[in-house]
Protein backbone atom coordinates (compact mmCIF):
# COMPACT_ATOMS: atom_id res chain seq x y z
CA UNK A 1 0.00 0.00 0.00
CA UNK A 2 2.85 2.35 0.83
CA UNK A 3 4.26 1.89 -2.64
CA UNK A 4 1.07 3.06 -4.30
CA UNK A 5 1.82 6.81 -4.45
CA UNK A 6 5.23 6.13 -5.97
CA UNK A 7 3.81 3.74 -8.56
CA UNK A 8 1.07 6.24 -9.30
CA UNK A 9 3.56 9.06 -9.87
CA UNK A 10 5.75 6.87 -12.03
CA UNK A 11 2.78 5.95 -14.16
CA UNK A 12 1.79 9.56 -14.57
CA UNK A 13 5.22 11.05 -15.27
CA UNK A 14 6.71 7.92 -16.81
CA UNK A 15 3.71 7.63 -19.05
CA UNK A 16 4.19 11.20 -20.25
CA UNK A 17 7.86 10.57 -20.82
CA UNK A 18 7.44 7.50 -23.02
CA UNK A 19 4.53 8.76 -25.13
CA UNK A 20 5.40 8.02 -28.72
CA UNK A 21 4.61 10.88 -31.07
CA UNK A 22 4.17 10.04 -34.72
CA UNK A 23 7.34 9.84 -36.79
CA UNK A 24 8.29 11.66 -39.96
CA UNK A 25 10.73 10.32 -42.51
CA UNK A 26 12.01 13.03 -44.84
CA UNK A 27 14.62 12.74 -47.59
CA UNK A 28 17.79 14.58 -46.53
CA UNK A 29 17.97 16.49 -49.81
CA UNK A 30 15.39 17.40 -52.44
CA UNK A 31 15.90 19.20 -55.75
CA UNK A 32 13.93 22.42 -56.08
CA UNK A 33 10.59 22.03 -57.82
CA UNK A 34 10.49 18.23 -57.51
CA UNK A 35 7.46 16.51 -56.01
CA UNK A 36 8.25 14.00 -53.26
CA UNK A 37 6.65 12.23 -50.31
CA UNK A 38 7.17 12.21 -46.56
CA UNK A 39 6.35 9.00 -44.74
CA UNK A 40 4.56 9.15 -41.37
CA UNK A 41 3.85 6.62 -38.64
CA UNK A 42 1.03 6.34 -36.13
CA UNK A 43 -2.73 6.47 -36.40
CA UNK A 44 -5.31 9.18 -36.39
CA UNK A 45 -5.29 12.74 -37.60
CA UNK A 46 -2.56 15.34 -37.26
CA UNK A 47 -1.65 18.83 -38.39
CA UNK A 48 1.26 18.92 -40.78
CA UNK A 49 3.32 22.09 -41.18
CA UNK A 50 5.85 22.79 -43.90
CA UNK A 51 8.02 25.77 -43.01
CA UNK A 52 10.49 26.84 -45.69
CA UNK A 53 12.41 29.94 -46.73
CA UNK A 54 9.63 31.30 -48.95
CA UNK A 55 6.70 29.08 -48.17
CA UNK A 56 4.77 28.19 -45.03
CA UNK A 57 1.80 25.81 -45.15
CA UNK A 58 -0.42 23.77 -42.86
CA UNK A 59 -2.68 20.86 -43.71
CA UNK A 60 -4.60 18.07 -42.00
CA UNK A 61 -3.17 14.65 -42.67
CA UNK A 62 -3.84 11.05 -41.65
CA UNK A 63 -0.98 9.49 -39.74
CA UNK A 64 0.48 6.34 -41.25
CA UNK A 65 -0.04 7.68 -44.76
CA UNK A 66 2.46 9.43 -46.96
CA UNK A 67 2.32 13.21 -47.29
CA UNK A 68 2.75 14.33 -50.87
CA UNK A 69 4.75 17.55 -51.16
CA UNK A 70 4.12 19.30 -54.45
CA UNK A 71 7.06 20.67 -56.40
CA UNK A 72 5.53 24.14 -56.14
CA UNK A 73 5.93 23.96 -52.35
CA UNK A 74 9.70 23.48 -52.56
CA UNK A 75 10.76 25.83 -55.34
CA UNK A 76 13.08 27.83 -53.12
CA UNK A 77 16.33 26.27 -52.02
CA UNK A 78 17.26 26.21 -48.36
CA UNK A 79 16.29 24.47 -45.16
CA UNK A 80 12.75 23.26 -44.61
CA UNK A 81 11.04 22.01 -41.47
CA UNK A 82 8.39 19.32 -41.64
CA UNK A 83 6.37 19.33 -38.41
CA UNK A 84 3.62 17.04 -37.17
CA UNK A 85 1.25 18.00 -34.37
CA UNK A 86 -0.89 15.16 -33.18
CA UNK A 87 -2.59 14.07 -29.97
CA UNK A 88 0.58 12.16 -29.06
CA UNK A 89 2.75 15.25 -29.31
CA UNK A 90 4.83 17.18 -31.80
CA UNK A 91 7.58 15.84 -33.97
CA UNK A 92 9.66 17.44 -36.66
CA UNK A 93 12.38 16.83 -39.19
CA UNK A 94 14.53 19.12 -41.29
CA UNK A 95 15.57 18.67 -44.90
CA UNK A 96 17.31 20.75 -47.52
CA UNK A 97 16.20 21.80 -50.97
CA UNK A 98 19.00 22.37 -53.46
CA UNK A 99 18.93 24.36 -56.70
CA UNK A 100 18.04 22.88 -60.06
CA UNK A 101 20.45 23.09 -63.01
CA UNK A 102 21.45 26.60 -64.15
CA UNK A 103 18.87 28.37 -66.27
CA UNK A 104 20.00 31.99 -66.04
CA UNK A 105 22.80 34.19 -64.81
CA UNK A 106 23.21 37.23 -62.69
CA UNK A 107 26.09 38.87 -64.53
CA UNK A 108 28.15 41.86 -63.45
CA UNK A 109 30.66 43.47 -65.81
CA UNK A 110 32.80 46.34 -64.70
CA UNK A 111 33.63 49.02 -65.75
CA UNK A 112 31.26 50.05 -68.53
CA UNK A 113 34.04 52.21 -70.09
CA UNK A 114 37.60 51.01 -70.09
CA UNK A 115 40.79 52.31 -71.73
CA UNK A 116 42.18 50.13 -74.51
CA UNK A 117 45.13 47.86 -73.82
CA UNK A 118 44.55 47.73 -70.11
CA UNK A 119 45.78 44.54 -68.46
CA UNK A 120 43.02 43.01 -66.30
CA UNK A 121 41.03 46.17 -66.84
CA UNK A 122 37.68 44.38 -67.06
CA UNK A 123 36.09 42.36 -64.26
CA UNK A 124 33.43 39.76 -65.09
CA UNK A 125 31.42 38.14 -62.29
CA UNK A 126 28.64 35.59 -62.81
CA UNK A 127 26.22 33.93 -60.40
CA UNK A 128 24.37 31.00 -62.05
CA UNK A 129 20.72 30.72 -61.07
CA UNK A 130 18.20 27.95 -61.66
CA UNK A 131 14.74 28.46 -63.15
CA UNK A 132 13.41 29.39 -59.69
CA UNK A 133 16.23 31.95 -59.28
CA UNK A 134 18.02 29.88 -56.66
CA UNK A 135 21.77 30.30 -56.57
CA UNK A 136 23.38 27.15 -58.00
CA UNK A 137 25.99 26.17 -55.45
CA UNK A 138 27.20 23.02 -57.20
CA UNK A 139 30.28 23.78 -59.33
CA UNK A 140 29.38 24.60 -62.95
CA UNK A 141 31.43 25.94 -65.84
CA UNK A 142 30.82 29.51 -66.96
CA UNK A 143 32.26 30.66 -70.30
CA UNK A 144 33.28 34.32 -70.48
CA UNK A 145 33.90 35.83 -73.92
CA UNK A 146 35.02 39.30 -74.93
CA UNK A 147 34.23 40.18 -78.54
CA UNK A 148 35.69 43.46 -79.76
CA UNK A 149 35.36 44.95 -83.25
CA UNK A 150 38.05 43.82 -85.73
CA UNK A 151 39.63 41.50 -83.16
CA UNK A 152 39.34 37.77 -82.52
CA UNK A 153 37.16 36.92 -79.50
CA UNK A 154 38.90 36.13 -76.25
CA UNK A 155 37.21 33.48 -74.17
CA UNK A 156 37.88 31.38 -71.10
CA UNK A 157 35.99 28.95 -68.91
CA UNK A 158 35.81 29.43 -65.17
CA UNK A 159 34.24 26.96 -62.73
CA UNK A 160 32.00 28.40 -60.04
CA UNK A 161 33.01 28.14 -56.43
CA UNK A 162 30.27 28.61 -53.83
CA UNK A 163 27.99 29.81 -56.60
CA UNK A 164 30.22 32.47 -58.14
CA UNK A 165 32.61 32.56 -61.11
CA UNK A 166 34.74 35.56 -61.87
CA UNK A 167 37.67 36.51 -64.01
CA UNK A 168 39.67 39.60 -64.89
CA UNK A 169 40.10 40.24 -68.62
CA UNK A 170 42.37 42.49 -70.67
CA UNK A 171 40.74 45.17 -72.78
CA UNK A 172 41.57 44.93 -76.47
CA UNK A 173 43.81 47.27 -78.46
CA UNK A 174 41.10 48.87 -80.57
CA UNK A 175 38.68 51.46 -79.28
CA UNK A 176 34.97 50.85 -79.76
CA UNK A 177 32.14 48.76 -78.45
CA UNK A 178 32.99 45.31 -77.09
CA UNK A 179 30.51 42.64 -76.06
CA UNK A 180 31.26 40.72 -72.88
CA UNK A 181 29.25 37.53 -72.61
CA UNK A 182 28.86 34.98 -69.84
CA UNK A 183 27.29 31.65 -70.77
CA UNK A 184 26.22 28.66 -68.72
CA UNK A 185 24.24 25.60 -69.74
CA UNK A 186 23.18 27.22 -73.02
CA UNK A 187 22.06 30.47 -71.39
CA UNK A 188 23.93 33.65 -72.36
CA UNK A 189 23.99 37.08 -70.81
CA UNK A 190 25.74 39.99 -72.54
CA UNK A 191 27.01 43.36 -71.38
CA UNK A 192 28.32 46.18 -73.53
CA UNK A 193 31.73 47.56 -72.65
CA UNK A 194 32.86 50.79 -74.28
CA UNK A 195 36.59 50.54 -74.93
CA UNK A 196 37.98 54.03 -75.21
CA UNK A 197 41.36 55.38 -76.20
CA UNK A 198 43.85 55.52 -73.40
CA UNK A 199 45.66 58.74 -72.45
CA UNK A 200 47.01 60.85 -75.37
CA UNK A 201 50.38 59.99 -76.81
CA UNK A 202 52.68 62.36 -78.73
CA UNK A 203 50.52 65.37 -78.01
CA UNK A 204 51.54 68.24 -80.30
CA UNK A 205 50.47 71.88 -80.50
CA UNK A 206 50.80 74.40 -83.33
CA UNK A 207 49.86 78.10 -83.66
CA UNK A 208 48.71 80.26 -86.54
CA UNK A 209 48.11 84.01 -86.66
CA UNK A 210 44.66 85.09 -87.68
CA UNK A 211 42.84 88.42 -87.97
CA UNK A 212 41.52 87.89 -84.41
CA UNK A 213 44.80 86.93 -82.80
CA UNK A 214 46.35 83.49 -82.54
CA UNK A 215 44.72 80.17 -83.35
CA UNK A 216 46.28 77.47 -81.17
CA UNK A 217 45.41 73.88 -81.96
CA UNK A 218 46.66 70.36 -81.59
CA UNK A 219 47.39 67.73 -84.17
CA UNK A 220 44.79 64.92 -84.12
CA UNK A 221 44.98 63.55 -80.59
CA UNK A 222 45.56 59.80 -80.39
CA UNK A 223 46.66 57.29 -77.77
CA UNK A 224 49.82 55.22 -78.10
CA UNK A 225 47.90 52.50 -79.99
CA UNK A 226 46.66 55.00 -82.59
CA UNK A 227 43.09 55.23 -81.31
CA UNK A 228 41.56 58.71 -81.47
CA UNK A 229 41.09 60.14 -77.99
CA UNK A 230 37.36 60.75 -77.50
CA UNK A 231 35.82 64.11 -78.19
CA UNK A 232 35.19 66.01 -74.99
CA UNK A 233 38.53 65.10 -73.45
CA UNK A 234 40.01 68.30 -72.05
CA UNK A 235 43.32 69.65 -73.39
CA UNK A 236 45.06 72.50 -71.57
CA UNK A 237 47.07 75.16 -73.40
CA UNK A 238 49.47 77.20 -71.25
CA UNK A 239 50.71 80.55 -72.62
CA UNK A 240 53.64 82.29 -70.94
CA UNK A 241 54.32 85.76 -72.36
CA UNK A 242 55.21 89.29 -71.29
CA UNK A 243 51.85 89.69 -69.59
CA UNK A 244 52.36 86.62 -67.50
CA UNK A 245 50.96 83.09 -67.56
CA UNK A 246 47.49 82.03 -68.64
CA UNK A 247 45.85 78.68 -69.22
CA UNK A 248 43.02 77.83 -71.57
CA UNK A 249 41.16 74.51 -71.34
CA UNK A 250 39.55 73.27 -74.53
CA UNK A 251 37.70 70.02 -75.26
CA UNK A 252 38.67 67.84 -78.16
CA UNK A 253 36.24 68.29 -81.04
CA UNK A 254 36.45 66.06 -84.09
CA UNK A 255 39.80 64.75 -82.95
CA UNK A 256 41.57 68.05 -82.27
CA UNK A 257 41.51 70.66 -79.52
CA UNK A 258 41.79 74.31 -80.46
CA UNK A 259 41.37 77.78 -79.02
CA UNK A 260 41.55 81.34 -80.27
CA UNK A 261 43.58 83.72 -78.07
CA UNK A 262 44.48 87.40 -78.32
CA UNK A 263 47.94 87.92 -79.76
CA UNK A 264 50.27 87.45 -76.79
CA UNK A 265 53.32 88.89 -78.52
CA UNK A 266 56.45 86.91 -77.82
CA UNK A 267 55.39 83.87 -75.82
CA UNK A 268 55.83 80.16 -75.28
CA UNK A 269 52.85 77.83 -75.63
CA UNK A 270 52.70 74.33 -74.20
CA UNK A 271 50.01 71.67 -74.25
CA UNK A 272 48.92 68.98 -71.80
CA UNK A 273 46.05 66.57 -71.29
CA UNK A 274 45.44 64.56 -68.14
CA UNK A 275 48.91 63.56 -66.96
CA UNK A 276 50.43 63.80 -70.45
CA UNK A 277 52.57 66.81 -71.41
CA UNK A 278 53.01 67.60 -75.07
CA UNK A 279 55.46 69.82 -76.93
CA UNK A 280 56.19 73.51 -76.42
CA UNK A 281 56.40 76.12 -79.17
CA UNK A 282 57.56 79.73 -79.22
CA UNK A 283 55.71 82.51 -80.99
CA UNK A 284 56.86 86.15 -81.30
CA UNK A 285 56.33 89.44 -83.07
CA UNK A 286 56.99 89.15 -86.75
CA UNK A 287 56.26 85.43 -86.81
Amino acid sequence: MRKLPFTFLLLIFGGVGVANPAELRVPPMVTAGNTFSIATSGRGEADFYLVGPGHVARQKIRLGEEIRIAGTDVRISGRYLAILRSAEGNTSAAFFVSAETPASLSFLAHPSRVPVGESQGIGAVAFPLDKFRNLVLQPVDVRFELQAKDAPPVSLVVQTKSGVAWTPMDSSRKAGVALLTAAVNGFRSTRVIQQVAATPCGLRVKAQRTARGLLVETDPVRDCLGNPVPDGTIVSFTIIGRKGKSTVDAPIKRGVASTQIPDPGAASISVASSVVIGNEIRVGEGQ
Binding site: F13, H55, V56, R58, L108, F127, V164, W166, P168
Partner: protein
Protein backbone atom coordinates in the same frame (compact mmCIF):
# COMPACT_ATOMS: atom_id res chain seq x y z
CA UNK B 1 9.80 4.08 3.12
CA UNK B 2 8.41 7.55 3.33
CA UNK B 3 11.93 8.85 3.68
CA UNK B 4 13.08 6.98 0.62
CA UNK B 5 10.15 8.13 -1.43
CA UNK B 6 10.50 11.75 -0.51
CA UNK B 7 13.60 12.47 -2.63
CA UNK B 8 12.11 10.64 -5.61
CA UNK B 9 8.85 12.49 -5.37
CA UNK B 10 10.75 15.72 -4.94
CA UNK B 11 12.83 14.92 -8.01
CA UNK B 12 9.76 14.18 -10.09
CA UNK B 13 8.01 17.29 -8.85
CA UNK B 14 11.10 19.39 -9.59
CA UNK B 15 11.33 17.89 -13.07
CA UNK B 16 7.72 18.71 -13.65
CA UNK B 17 8.29 22.18 -12.31
CA UNK B 18 11.30 22.68 -14.58
CA UNK B 19 9.03 21.78 -17.47
CA UNK B 20 6.72 24.62 -16.60
CA UNK B 21 9.62 27.00 -16.04
CA UNK B 22 11.32 26.10 -19.33
CA UNK B 23 8.41 27.07 -21.55
CA UNK B 24 8.31 30.75 -20.61
CA UNK B 25 12.11 30.86 -20.76
CA UNK B 26 12.18 29.59 -24.33
CA UNK B 27 9.34 31.84 -25.32
CA UNK B 28 11.24 34.76 -23.90
CA UNK B 29 14.33 33.77 -25.89
CA UNK B 30 12.34 33.35 -29.08
CA UNK B 31 10.88 36.83 -28.90
CA UNK B 32 14.29 38.43 -28.41
CA UNK B 33 14.49 40.73 -31.43
CA UNK B 34 17.68 42.62 -30.66
CA UNK B 35 20.41 42.68 -33.31
CA UNK B 36 22.49 39.54 -33.05
CA UNK B 37 26.23 39.50 -32.45
CA UNK B 38 28.13 39.17 -35.73
CA UNK B 39 31.79 38.31 -36.30
CA UNK B 40 33.48 38.60 -39.68
CA UNK B 41 36.60 36.78 -40.85
CA UNK B 42 37.90 38.02 -44.20
CA UNK B 43 41.25 36.25 -44.18
CA UNK B 44 40.25 33.98 -47.10
CA UNK B 45 38.21 36.52 -49.03
CA UNK B 46 39.24 37.93 -52.41
CA UNK B 47 40.02 39.13 -54.96
CA UNK B 48 39.40 42.62 -53.56
CA UNK B 49 40.76 43.48 -50.15
CA UNK B 50 38.04 44.63 -47.80
CA UNK B 51 38.18 48.22 -46.59
CA UNK B 52 38.05 48.89 -42.83
CA UNK B 53 34.81 50.82 -43.11
CA UNK B 54 33.23 48.07 -45.22
CA UNK B 55 34.29 45.47 -42.64
CA UNK B 56 32.49 47.43 -39.93
CA UNK B 57 29.44 48.07 -42.09
CA UNK B 58 29.03 44.44 -43.08
CA UNK B 59 28.98 43.43 -39.41
CA UNK B 60 26.48 46.16 -38.56
CA UNK B 61 24.21 45.72 -41.56
CA UNK B 62 24.14 41.93 -41.56
CA UNK B 63 23.13 42.01 -37.91
CA UNK B 64 20.42 44.55 -38.65
CA UNK B 65 19.18 42.45 -41.57
CA UNK B 66 18.77 39.47 -39.25
CA UNK B 67 17.10 41.63 -36.66
CA UNK B 68 14.68 42.87 -39.32
CA UNK B 69 13.98 39.36 -40.54
CA UNK B 70 13.49 37.95 -37.03
CA UNK B 71 11.11 40.74 -36.04
CA UNK B 72 9.10 40.52 -39.25
CA UNK B 73 8.71 36.74 -38.93
CA UNK B 74 7.93 36.82 -35.21
CA UNK B 75 5.40 39.64 -35.48
CA UNK B 76 4.09 38.81 -38.97
CA UNK B 77 4.78 42.38 -40.07
CA UNK B 78 5.67 42.81 -43.72
CA UNK B 79 6.20 46.56 -43.48
CA UNK B 80 9.29 45.96 -41.33
CA UNK B 81 11.00 44.70 -44.48
CA UNK B 82 10.87 48.17 -45.98
CA UNK B 83 13.87 49.41 -43.99
CA UNK B 84 16.26 48.47 -46.80
CA UNK B 85 18.39 45.83 -45.09
CA UNK B 86 16.89 43.04 -47.19
CA UNK B 87 16.42 43.49 -50.93
CA UNK B 88 15.97 41.46 -54.10
CA UNK B 89 15.48 37.70 -53.76
CA UNK B 90 15.93 37.79 -49.99
CA UNK B 91 13.12 40.29 -49.54
CA UNK B 92 10.83 38.67 -52.10
CA UNK B 93 11.08 35.27 -50.43
CA UNK B 94 10.64 36.61 -46.97
CA UNK B 95 7.60 38.58 -48.10
CA UNK B 96 6.08 35.41 -49.57
CA UNK B 97 6.75 33.47 -46.35
CA UNK B 98 5.16 36.25 -44.32
CA UNK B 99 2.07 36.26 -46.52
CA UNK B 100 1.72 32.51 -45.93
CA UNK B 101 2.28 32.93 -42.20
CA UNK B 102 -0.39 35.61 -41.93
CA UNK B 103 -2.81 33.50 -43.97
CA UNK B 104 -2.59 30.45 -41.69
CA UNK B 105 -1.76 32.12 -38.38
CA UNK B 106 1.71 30.68 -37.97
CA UNK B 107 4.78 32.56 -36.76
CA UNK B 108 8.44 31.62 -36.82
CA UNK B 109 10.65 33.06 -34.11
CA UNK B 110 14.40 33.24 -34.24
CA UNK B 111 16.72 34.18 -31.45
CA UNK B 112 20.42 34.29 -32.00
CA UNK B 113 23.69 33.28 -30.57
CA UNK B 114 26.62 34.47 -32.63
CA UNK B 115 26.71 34.77 -36.42
CA UNK B 116 30.20 33.85 -37.60
CA UNK B 117 30.65 35.29 -41.08
CA UNK B 118 33.41 34.04 -43.34
CA UNK B 119 34.10 36.15 -46.40
CA UNK B 120 34.22 34.10 -49.62
CA UNK B 121 34.22 36.61 -52.45
CA UNK B 122 34.46 40.37 -52.80
CA UNK B 123 34.12 41.47 -56.41
CA UNK B 124 36.96 43.54 -57.92
CA UNK B 125 34.71 46.58 -58.33
CA UNK B 126 33.29 46.27 -54.81
CA UNK B 127 29.74 45.72 -56.04
CA UNK B 128 29.06 42.31 -54.47
CA UNK B 129 30.22 40.26 -51.52
CA UNK B 130 29.52 36.62 -50.84
CA UNK B 131 29.81 35.26 -47.32
CA UNK B 132 29.19 32.08 -45.40
CA UNK B 133 27.47 32.39 -42.04
CA UNK B 134 27.62 29.78 -39.32
CA UNK B 135 25.05 30.74 -36.75
CA UNK B 136 23.65 29.37 -33.55
CA UNK B 137 19.95 30.02 -33.61
CA UNK B 138 16.96 29.11 -31.52
CA UNK B 139 13.95 28.50 -33.72
CA UNK B 140 10.36 28.26 -32.60
CA UNK B 141 7.36 27.69 -34.80
CA UNK B 142 4.13 28.85 -33.23
CA UNK B 143 0.60 28.15 -34.40
CA UNK B 144 -1.31 30.90 -32.68
CA UNK B 145 0.32 30.85 -29.25
CA UNK B 146 1.02 27.15 -29.29
CA UNK B 147 4.64 26.12 -29.81
CA UNK B 148 4.70 23.34 -32.40
CA UNK B 149 8.46 23.28 -32.93
CA UNK B 150 11.30 24.26 -30.66
CA UNK B 151 14.86 23.84 -31.80
CA UNK B 152 18.37 24.96 -30.96
CA UNK B 153 20.48 24.55 -34.07
CA UNK B 154 23.73 25.51 -35.72
CA UNK B 155 22.83 26.58 -39.24
CA UNK B 156 24.96 27.55 -42.20
CA UNK B 157 23.92 30.17 -44.71
CA UNK B 158 25.24 31.46 -48.01
CA UNK B 159 24.81 35.21 -48.10
CA UNK B 160 25.09 37.67 -50.95
CA UNK B 161 25.35 41.33 -50.02
CA UNK B 162 25.50 44.39 -52.25
CA UNK B 163 26.12 48.02 -51.35
CA UNK B 164 23.19 50.42 -51.26
CA UNK B 165 23.25 54.17 -50.85
CA UNK B 166 24.14 54.12 -47.16
CA UNK B 167 24.30 50.45 -46.16
CA UNK B 168 25.13 46.95 -47.28
CA UNK B 169 22.02 45.01 -48.16
CA UNK B 170 21.32 41.28 -47.96
CA UNK B 171 20.25 40.30 -51.47
CA UNK B 172 20.36 36.54 -51.13
CA UNK B 173 20.24 34.33 -48.05
CA UNK B 174 20.06 30.57 -48.19
CA UNK B 175 20.55 27.88 -45.56
CA UNK B 176 22.86 25.12 -46.76
CA UNK B 177 23.68 21.67 -45.37
Amino acid sequence: MKLRLAPLCALILISAAIGTITIPATLRAATDTSAPKVKLDTSLMGPRAIEDITHKNIIRDYGLAWQTMARALAENQRDLLENGYLVGFAKERLTQALEDQVKIGVRVSYSHGVHNLQGIFYSPDGSAMELRDTAQVHIQVLDGNRVVHNEQATLRFIVLMTPGADRWQVRYLQAVP
